[in-house]
Amino acid sequence: MDASTSLETHHDPHHHDADHDHHELGWWRKYIFSTDHKVIGIQYGICGLILLFLGFCLIMLMRWQLAYPGKALPVIGNMVRNIFGPGSMEGGKMAPEFYNSLGAMHGTIMIFLGVVPVAFAAFGNFVVPLQIGAPDMTFPKVNAASFWAFAVGGVIMLASFFVPGGAAKGGWTSYTPLSDISDKGPAFHAIFNGQTLWLIGFIFLITSSLLGAVNFITTIVQLRAKGLTWMRLPFFVWAQFVTAFLLLLAFPPLEAAIVMQLMDRVAATSFFLPTGLIVNGAPLHISGGGSPLLWQHLFWFLGHPEVYVLILPGMGIVAEILANNSRKPLWGYKSLVFSVLVLGFLSFIVWAHHMWLTGMGTAVSAFFQTTTMIISIPSVIILSAFFISLWGGSIRFNTPMLFATAFLPMFGIGGLTGIPLAFNSADLYLHDTYYVIAHFHYIVAPGTIFALFAGVYFWYPKATGRMMNEFWGKVHFWPSLICMNVIFLPMFLQGMLGMHRRWYDGGQGWSVAADHVWGLTGFQWNTPISWAAWTMGLAQIPFIINFFWSIKHGKKVGDNPWEATTLEWTAPSPPPHGNFIGTPVAYRGPYEYSLPGREKDFTMQNEPVEPTERTRRKVPPEPVLA
């Protein structure tokens, strides 16, 4: 049978009894254990945002220790101590093991419990089916399972703060042997210790991502509306499509590594432990024969694709918002799509650029330097295309657009500073210094996080039927932008001075940190950075209030408040269960803004092509199916 009739099945008896049992869903099935992609998306979104904020709070604590090492943190210090126990901030002073826990968990939470759930799972779940005109994900139950796996994983991760010894301390990279042998001994439980729980929690998070990835890809392949050919997909859908593949193929090797580290910890194996280790002067009683670097290879095989998982959805969001608010098509749509595919593919063969200093030979390092150089090209193309898209536009600076435009230079800075790191000889000096920290934070913090903010402001009306407040949005934007730069720009200086990351004392005890740059010593720079971080914390309050306040009190709007073109704006806001009234059909590309000779400056994808139009512009003939 052909698909159109299959889409017709919406209206035959099936439809009604489906609707029928849907009505019987109770509050729990509807809002908590729902299988509706929109509900799941929102669940992901809220959990993710809260966890992002938590990750931020952890780093705000660390910033105190970095700015004022060894000093007692007034008031809050004792609160923290009462929450996390004596090992954390006794008398308001931060203990080194607590600092390391915070560092590791900041990284883990931000990446795997914050950005991935929001950027990939939340926006992917809520927006993608709507943008491709689908009634839901292909596997709604799997979708729900994915969310609950994530929830369990998250709970385990957070719980690990409260077991004896506190959360994992080995950094988000959990390098072996350190992570194999840490959190062991009389002071620790065999299973309920930070590192082991980190591993177990991770297995759930990976499961969640895998289920999600399978679902996304299948949905995009199978449920595209009639007429929505591949080259008519919004760029955001492409970005999510590639992201899903990255998760699908990069996560399992890490899962394997995690199973092995788990074995090392609970079954006393030696996957990552070489023969003849002496810890604290005592030989370890292990079989040995393992390989410490094996972990790093498996970790970074995920690790690098993962960083593109962090950025691609952000790029997708920015693309949508740029096109919409510059009121003109994205420039070079085809090259954008091509670049993002190449980016996805290449990201699997660059991982060793995180391991330059592990004693690599010329041949191997030459290979990985070359691939790393090549992979920077698609990013350049994407960013250039975004810049050029703005030319000739009629740019509206609403809140989403502000965040989206800020994304461009911020990502640019982060990306450009990746280049020296990519040359192993330059990285010789920069490896594990604050230069690296600054590099990737410029991409993930004022980059991805801003993209997420932009996306929240942009799709909020679709999800709730109400706008978020514009004024408070701007109050959120400007301080955030300034603080981000005050935080991360000086870190490049600290890195160039030779200050290393993961320093509990913020460099106080090191002569490299005593050198001056731009009027302050490397160590002194910590103070303005920290104050900027705390100020930015305050700058988030308007957002949080705005976010919750607008649910009830925001300005009511119709289906298409931004006068956008893609299919999600043809559905009611908020869309009902099943999303669309009737069956959406796409007749044209995603970004038909400011078509010459039309009264409106936007033409939606479901508006049929008029004959006159076809003669005037080269428009593909009537949509072939799919």
């Binding site: 126990g85 203990a95 080194p96 093991e97 409260f162 077991v163 010894g165 506190g166 301390k169 080995g170 042998i181 959190d183 062991k184 009389p186 002071a187 070489p274 003849g276 280790l277 002496i278 810890v279 604290n280 002067g281 005592a282 009683h285 510059s326 098509p329 070079g332 200093l357 592990t358 010329t362 030459a366 330097q369 150089m373 193309i381 250039s384 703005l390 000739g392 740019i395 600076f397 230079p409 280049i419 040359f423 000889s425 330059a426 010789l428 490896h431 001075l497 993961r502 509990y504 004392d505 106080q508 005890g509 090191w510 002569s511 490299v512 050198d515 001056h516 803004y593 400011s594 078509l595």
Partner: protein, 303 residues
Amino acid sequence: MSSLALINEFLGQPPNASEHGFQIDHILEFCHWFMAALFVGWSVYFAYVLIRFRKGRHPAADHEGVKSGISTHLEFSVVLIEAVLLIGFAIPLWAKRVNQFPDTQDAILAHVVGQQFNWNFHLPGPDGQFGRRDISLVSNTNPMGLDPNDPAGKDDIVAMGELHVPVNRPVILELSSKDVIHNFALPHMRIAQDAIPGSIIPMWFKPIKTGTFEVICGQLCGLGHYSMKGSVVVDSAEDYQAWLKERAEMAGTQAAPAAADRPPGEPSSGATPGTIAPPGAPKTENPGAKLPTSPAPSPAPGG
């Protein structure tokens, strides 16, 4: 060889003190110029566009936008520059680092063993022979597990935390670790290398300035990571001989006291370099710390 390193210096990079360091600085410098060019170029364009095409000034967008292929040229030039940096500089430079070691005749050879949380140095001494080492002999007084009955080891020099080398002579360090991965980073010499348990990785440099230089552990290795500090003292030839002599005398006895003398002008933080473990980390000489664990916090926090 001159150091043209305007941006690097502007960004605070400390002066280089090794022969090959200038090349490292150059490639970094080139990168920074290249980045600056792209950044400034695009920023100017960006600022212009945001003003020129804002709604107020340009109410109707134009559907087509830019038609010229300017960006393609730009992207190609990026490719070109990156290719030059890669093939012209980075790869040969690395080859020199890892393949072309100075011959051991005139080079200073030393074994470096990292441990939580300090650096141990092992020099062959006058006879130029390294004594046998055996992990079963490792103790707090014999950190390298040096075999006392091996004649070759009799005159060996074991120093904790501080290594002396003569200026203008290549130094080859063979890195390994007892427990976890550390990273032997000498910013002023523009070298760094992981010290990985179970493997021995060589690394070389040629100091061209005398003075005391900080050795940073560049890999998270536990509680004391932030204070895992060593120092490389680059002496004039004669000072070096003097040091060797002094050490050769102590060689028979244990090398532990060496840790005590700290290089002058070292900023003293909560943690001192060398053997004294940082607060919070179990002291290496603490007999209680025999459990197969990384530094376990003695009190169990959490609730």
